[in-house]
């Protein structure tokens, strides 16, 4: 068979893929139709809204923000009077929302972490206590708990002239919680300068520690020298300030008279109720997040760390926490966002947060669309900022091996 070889047939050029073309056109058509439907629905809603507003003689637009609000706000970070414009009222509301959310976030993190670790305890009683708390608190609506705390704080506590004093200088009564605050003093500025100086010294020291480690393999102590440097420098600054300007340790302590409590700082029962309710409720969820995070670290990791001879602090710091945090932090952020959104329930007890202010403005001006739009924009912005920070964090802690 070594005669003339028949040439291989040249395969004909494939015909143009008509089906792929058709599919592409169909997809474009579907998307166009979807867009058209959305546009029509939006137009229809707009048309109805405008017609309705015309029929009611209502105005639209955000111009009302510059009119005087005409209502008072019971508390806020910056002063507010009823004659000031709406936009300032909204700003005070936003400040109140952030204030109550921040305090509750700190409280729920501390309480939740303790509960989560407690649930993993070897001690049966402690374990049951924490489990009982979590199951009790997270199966009851937070609004109900908020109303309950508010009732306890405003109806069951004694009046301010018979205020409870759980600790000296701290008074708890129907009109809120009063506690001592340090009086502002120039000497603090010196302490602050000293603290910054301490940070600089610590950074220098830590660099040295690293160089020694890399050069000789010797690990110098890090925790207590840094602590000493920071505390020492701060104290030194404070002392210098005290010598020049007088002692800075004056406290403004509240005092109880026959009528009321004066002096110190105070928070209203509304603020207190929202804070307690949000932090105790969210703590139950944070506890579950923390527990899941710790359990997610495989047991072999701990055993390997022990086999390498790491001590308990190193095990926790170098092996367990970095892996657990990778699981914990995203869920924790979610819980913080939930807490911030739940702080809108403050409207139920009359704490003047953003939603409460918007609700009052809405009832006064009838600008429903604008007020709800402001609430939604603020909350969506908060969520987006958090999500952005979260993504940055995730990129930093993501498994290096998986990134390639």
């Amino acid at each position: 068979m070594s005669g003339t070889q028949t040439p291989l047939p040249i395969s004909p050029r494939p015909p143009p893929d008509l089906r792929a073309d058709a599919r592409r056109w169909r997809e474009r058509l579907i998307q166009l139709i979807v867009l058209a439907i959305i546009a029509v629905v939006l137009w229809w809603l707009m048309h109805n809204t405008l017609a309705n507003m015309r029929a009611r003689g209502a105005h639209a637009g955000f111009d009302f923000l510059f009119d005087p609000a005409g209502f008072d706000i019971s508390e806020g970070l910056f002063g507010y009077e009823s004659g000031q414009p709406f936009w300032r009222a909204f700003l005070v509301g936003l400040g109140n929302t952030l204030r109550v959310a921040l305090v509750s976030i700190v409280a729920c993190t501390v309480l939740g972490t303790l509960l989560g670790i407690g649930r993993l305890s070897r001690n049966f009683l402690l374990r049951s206590l924490c489990t009982g708390y979590i199951e009790l608190v997270r199966n009851v609506p937070v609004l109900l708990q908020l109303l309950m705390w508010y009732f306890i704080l405003t109806d069951m506590l004694p009046a301010s002239d018979e205020a409870l004093a759980p600790l000296p200088g701290i008074f708890l009564s129907k009109s809120g919680l009063a506690f001592p605050v340090p009086v502002l003093s120039v000497a603090w500025l010196y302490a602050g300068v000293g603290f910054v100086f301490g940070i600089n010294m610590s950074v220098l020291y830590l660099r040295r520690v690293r160089r020694v480690l890399y050069d000789s393999g010797r690990q110098l102590p890090r925790v207590w020298p840094v602590f000493l440097l920071l505390a020492g420098a701060t104290l030194l600054g404070c002392l210098i300030g005290a010598v020049i300007h007088g002692a800075p340790w004056a406290f403004d302590v509240p005092e109880k008279s026959a009528i009321n409590i004066s002096g110190g700082a105070a928070v209203t029962p509304e603020f207190l109720a929202v804070c307690i309710a949000l932090s105790t409720y969210t703590a139950a969820f944070v506890a579950e997040v923390v527990r899941a995070g710790i359990l997610s670290v495989q047991h072999g990791q701990l055993e390997a760390a022990r086999a390498l001879g790491l001590n308990r602090v190193q095990q926790l710091q170098r092996v367990i926490l970095p892996q657990a945090l990778r699981v914990i932090v995203p869920s924790l952020t979610n819980q913080y966002l939930n807490l911030t959104k739940n702080s809108s329930l403050a409207v139920a007890v009359g704490y003047p947060d953003l939603v409460s202010i918007a609700n009052t403005s809405l009832n006064q001006t009838g600008r429903a669309f604008e007020c709800v739009a402001i609430i939604m924009t603020v909350y969506v912005t908060l969520s987006l900022i958090t999500a952005w920070l979260m993504n940055r964090y995730n990129r930093r802690v993501a498994l290096r091996g998986l990134q390639g």
């Binding site: 997270r138 809108s344 939604m376």
Partner: protein, 370 residues
């Protein structure tokens, strides 16, 4: 051979401590080492101090009769459960006409037995759908009246437990199909559809439920053509449905992502189109995998329904304020009322969360290899 090189067995180690039985359990869980023992003793002291006090308040010194004088005499040293005995009809049924309150009772029992029936895996088939439609129809008919000789009751008078159950079950039912569509949309190959669905989910998940409820009660009337009026209950129901759908869509999407790629490819190879691939192959697997999460989402909706109080619908939480808020005589005993309502919520939510855990174990059984 000298003595020194002779083999001497080291004495046997003592048997390990018992870890079985009561003594073993106690040692392992309560007294394993010093810190553990100290914690045990401290906690026992704590319990010994507070538990008797609580039992005394809740049971021994409590007043169960609806008798204000006796409650005042107890002076908060004992719980006044009389407030529940006096007001339970308003707390449970809101402003529903007193003589007609057997109707919401029957309606709630009907819906709850339907929920109970649906929890049994052997009932998971298509017959459940018409059963639910029938159940919801009977529920609404019983509550609203106007047929079969029942006195009509406007929705503004509905309240208490039936309203909570209606809002959560109804909201969930509305949300479910929408959630599936949005979840499919977020995985779609069409950029426009994908963007729209992502926008919807992220927008809704970014705002609190209250703002959605405000929108439902204040803005929805503006959106409708002039002359068309929607009942506030339906508007709120739509709001809850839209809100829940965004969260459920994420759960369903997670389920769809968990289905192996080969399943979709196999379905296409068999000649199934987009919709049939989803309906017959992907969704059945995805939904079953995320069933526990869906139950958890339902618990969330059930609790969130308490928020409709803020737009003046008197469900369980609102009905309590309705019953006690304006009542000078019974108002001092609000706390006991809160405990009662919290207990009702707790029973429902805890029961469902146990069910969700059991479901998870049951589903994991199929994946286990021996």
């Amino acid at each position: 051979m000298s003595e020194a090189h002779m083999f001497v067995a080291i004495p046997p180690r003592p048997a390990p401590r018992r870890i079985r039985g009561t003594a073993g359990w106690l040692r392992k869980n309560l007294f394993s080492d010093w810190p553990n023992s100290i914690a045990t003793i401290l906690l026992l002291m704590l319990f010994a101090w507070y538990v008797p006090q609580f039992v005394n308040w809740a049971v021994i010194s409590a007043v169960a009769r609806p008798d204000v004088e006796a409650c005042r005499a107890a002076a908060h040293a004992g719980a006044c459960w009389g407030v529940v005995a006096e007001k339970y009809r308003i707390i449970l049924f809101g402003r529903y006409p007193y003589a007609q309150q057997w109707r919401p009772l029957v309606a709630v029992l009907l819906l709850l037995s339907l929920v109970g029936l649906s929890t049994l895996p052997r009932m998971w088939r298509w017959t459940l759908l018409p059963l639910w439609l029938l159940g919801m129809t009977v529920f609404v008919a019983l509550m609203g009246g106007g047929i079969a000789g029942l006195v009509p009751v406007p929705t503004s008078l509905w309240g208490g437990l039936p309203l909570t159950v209606l809002l959560s079950v109804g909201g969930m039912t509305l949300a479910f199909p929408l959630a599936i569509l949005v979840a499919m949309g977020r995985r779609s190959a069409l950029p426009v559809v994908r963007t729209l669905c992502t926008l919807y989910v992220e927008l809704i998940r970014g705002v609190p439920l209250i703002s959605v409820l405000f929108m439902a009660s204040f803005m929805l009337p503006l959106f409708l053509p002039q002359g068309v009026k929607l009942d506030v209950l339906i508007r709120v129901l739509v709001g809850i449905g839209l809100f829940t759908a965004a969260y459920m869509a994420e759960i369903v999407r997670g389920g769809l992502q968990a289905v192996p790629r080969g399943q979709a490819e196999a379905a296409r190879a068999l000649g199934l189109g987009y919709w049939k691939t989803h309906a017959l192959v992907l969704l059945p697997q995805a939904l079953q995998a995320v069933l526990p999460s869906l139950v958890n989402s339902f618990i969330g909706t059930f609790k969130d329904c308490s928020l409709v109080t803020i737009v003046s619908l008197y469900e369980l939480t609102g009905a309590l304020s309705l019953a006690l808020g304006g009542d000078v005589v019974w108002r001092p005993f609000f706390l006991e009322g809160y405990f009662f309502v919290a207990f009702i919520y707790w029973i429902f939510c805890f029961g469902m969360s146990r069910y969700s855990v059991r479901l998870e174990h049951r589903l994991a059984r199929g994946l286990r290899r021996n």
